[in-house]
């Protein structure tokens, strides 16, 4: 009941006219950038993040969560209409969404995707409301060794995000940790890895890294694939009653699969969507309809996608662990505004945290209200030629990297990251572990040092305390479990797209 009272307070704040307006603006902008072919949600959030910095923290975070939801939804539009999965989580949506679009039922597919996203997103946030605070209440159990165990648990997330090859995942994660070390050391403020060069003392800027790896690299990849928009006519975006009757059980099943598996670290949306799609196909009375435009084939993976993203909010807010690159960017944003997710979140920033949770509910509703009537406009946007889109994205990325710290060095870093990101993506080295390790590196180091100081330098401290040991064992167990599921999903990706995609 406490949760409901607190949530009520959150709603009171989130529903003020200013904050509501920011949620609408955020959802609009997020969808706008998310539907542009060639920009995944991670890049969309990173590009739009600077726009929120002129606002006060509360409306800024509300706008940011609107952007997050919008960008996540935007990806399914290009999957259905253009057969371009902006990221691996949209691959199954293409399978039936695109045939539906070819049959002139693209509008219905988009409508069902919007409804599925809404149902899954809202159920996910309801679970967040009731699960996250009790989880965070365990804060007293947590000393530095336990936090270190958590960070190791997060490392298993990183490893299993590597699309099947552990070596590739670990290699990228270590590069991420390395980049995070550049700057001033935490205990003596002595410069590290700056090699006497002063501009490096501030470290590598988060926005510059994300914009380079995810936006600039993405433009080059898009250029190479010579993406062209296909004209589709949309007749009706509102699904008929028969469509809904067909889609609703799939939406609920997709939500269930996406949410439950999404709680496992490492089960990114890219994994759960395939499981949801396959489950639907196995349950269907006529499985041969799948791949030729079955509405359940859109409903299930879209719902699973959103349910998994929402499930990701629980470890994000309660433990401070992002489970996917878009959540990592969101976490970066929350931290900029002084909200440190983790077990102390609900103690230190209760009002703020509940406002954010309330704004997640609001964001879901706004997205549904906006998307059904505006689908025609999003469709039109997907037809913008790449020759216009590419330069605009590059200029925005360039200026976005600059604006974070008014530094030309950051722009240089993001250009280098753009080239590196392009090459790494081409050779299928996953970028997600790099980004997440970069985010978690400083925390891992902090808890490691604090624990070892407590124990006088003995690493045995991690095995002598119950919770820390349990977390480490849990990490090992989850790693094995995730590997099995991820292995299954990457095989499915290979079968479906005849190419490897990092999950």
């Amino acid at each position: 009941m406490d949760a409901l009272v607190a949530l009520g307070g959150g709603f009171a704040a989130a529903l003020s006219p200013m904050n509501l307006a920011m949620a609408v603006v955020g959802a609009l902008l997020g969808t706008l950038v998310g539907v542009l072919p060639g920009l995944g949600p991670t890049a969309a959030i990173a590009l739009l993040f600077p726009l929120t910095t002129v606002l006060a923290p509360v409306p800024a975070i509300i706008m940011l969560s609107g952007i997050y939801y919008g960008a996540m939804y935007g990806g399914s539009t290009t999957a259905i209409l253009l057969n371009i999965p902006g990221e691996v989580a949209s691959v199954p949506t293409c399978l039936d969404g695109y045939p539906l679009a070819q049959q002139g039922r693209g509008g219905v597919a988009l409508g069902v995707a919007a409804i599925g996203s809404f149902v899954a997103g809202t159920l996910g946030v309801i679970a967040l409301t009731f699960f996250a605070p009790p989880l965070a209440d365990r804060a007293l159990w947590f000393g530095p060794p336990e936090y270190f165990g958590l960070m190791v648990l997060a490392f298993t997330v990183i490893a299993s995000l590597s699309g099947g090859s552990l070596v590739r995942g670990f290699a990228m994660a270590m590069l991420g940790y390395f980049v995070s070390l550049i700057g001033l050391g935490p205990s003596t403020a002595e410069p590290r890895f700056t090699f006497g060069w002063e501009p490096l003392m501030g470290g590598v800027e988060f926005i510059a890294l994300v914009v380079g790896l995810f936006a600039i690299a993405e433009v080059f990849l898009g250029l190479e694939e010579a993406r062209v928009a296909i004209a589709t006519k949309l007749r009706n975006v509102f699904p008929r009653a028969a469509d809904l009757r067909q889609a609703l059980p799939a939406i609920l099943r997709g939500t269930g699969i996406g949410f439950v598996l999404g709680l496992l670290p490492g089960c990114a949306p890219g994994v759960t969507v395939f499981l949801a799609y396959d489950a639907e196909k196995k349950l269907a009375r006529e499985p041969e309809r799948f791949g030729r435009g079955a509405i359940e084939g859109v409903a299930a993976p879209e719902s699973a996608n959103n349910a998994t993203s929402s499930a990701g909010f629980i470890p994000l807010l309660a433990l401070g662990i992002p489970a996917s690159p878009p959540l990592a960017v969101l976490l970066g944003g929350l931290m900029v505004y002084g909200l440190q997710p983790g077990p102390l979140l609900f103690e230190r920033n209760a009002d703020f945290a509940w406002t954010v949770i309330a704004s997640f509910y609001v964001g879901n509703v706004i997205l549904l209200l906006l998307n059904l009537p505006l689908i025609g406009m999003w469709v039109w946007l997907t037809r913008i030629p790449y020759g216009i889109l590419g330069p605009v994205i590059l200029l925005l990325a360039f200026l976005g990297a600059y604006s974070a710290r008014n530094s030309m060095l950051d722009v240089g870093v993001s250009l280098v990251c753009g080239i590196a990101g392009y090459l790494l993506r081409k050779y299928q080295w996953p970028l997600a572990p790099l980004l997440l390790a970069y985010m978690l590196g400083p925390l891992l180091e902090k808890y490691l040092l604090q624990s070892l100081s407590m124990s006088g330098g003995s690493p045995l401290i991690f095995f002598q305390r119950g919770v820390a040991l349990a977390l480490l064992l849990g990490a090992a167990l989850l790693l094995v479990l995730s590997l099995v599921i991820v292995h299954y999903a990457s095989q499915r990706v290979r079968e479906t797209t005849a190419e490897e995609m990092a999950l």
Binding site: P50, L51, T53, V54, G164, S165, V167, F170, A171, M174, L175, Y177, F178, L181, G185, P186, S187, T188, E190, R192, F193, V219, F220, L223, E224, A226, P385, Y386, G387, I388, G390, P391, V392, L394, L395, F398, L399, Y402, S403, N406, M408, V411, G412, L415, G418, I419, K426, Y427, Q428, W429, L444, E445, L448, L449, L452, S453, G456, G457, E499, E500
Partner: protein, 156 residues
């Protein structure tokens, strides 16, 4: 052109070994500093670089020795390659001239050059699109975000 990549693991492996060694050297330098500055601490700024450096060297050697499942890679050719190299060069030039030429003029030039190289639009179209882009970016960054940007020689 398509080929099965194998050189990438050598490059990444070598990079890990080099960076890992750098981390170990940095850890040694920091360890020396800590001994001199702080008495009695068992850990410090050098601890994590030491662990990470060792792990990076080991993993790098593993990459160099063990064969990974290799990726099929297509190399961009023809128009796409020209566009990519062209727009990459424009961005690099933009980065070089912005502080001296100033934000407004260099942004206009970069936008026009990008529309020419990526979109292959005719000059009049590229110039018009570049002008519109510059105005919109001006409104966005200078007016709305009140972003301080280098003014350069011309003061704009």
């Amino acid at each position: 052109m398509n080929f099965t990549a194998s050189g990438d693991r050598i490059v990444v492996g070598a990079l890990l070994v080099v960076l890992g060694t750098a981390a170990l050297l940095e850890a040694r330098r920091l360890h020396g500093l800590r001994e001199a500055m702080v008495a009695g601490a068992v850990v410090g700024d050098d601890t994590f670089p030491l662990i990470l450096g060792a792990a990076m060297v080991l993993l790098g050697l593993l990459c160099l020795i063990v064969r990974l499942p290799s990726a099929r890679v297509s190399v961009p050719a023809g128009a796409a390659r020209a566009q990519m190299l062209g727009s990459g060069a424009v961005l690099a030039a933009y980065w070089v001239i912005l502080p001296t030429v100033g934000y407004t003029l260099s942004t206009a030039l970069a936008a026009i050059a990008l529309y020419r190289s990526m979109g292959r639009y005719r000059w009049p179209v590229a110039v018009a699109a570049g002008a519109v882009t510059t105005v919109v970016l001006h409104l966005l960054f200078r007016i709305w975000l009140r972003q301080p940007l280098p003014a350069g020689w011309l003061g704009i």
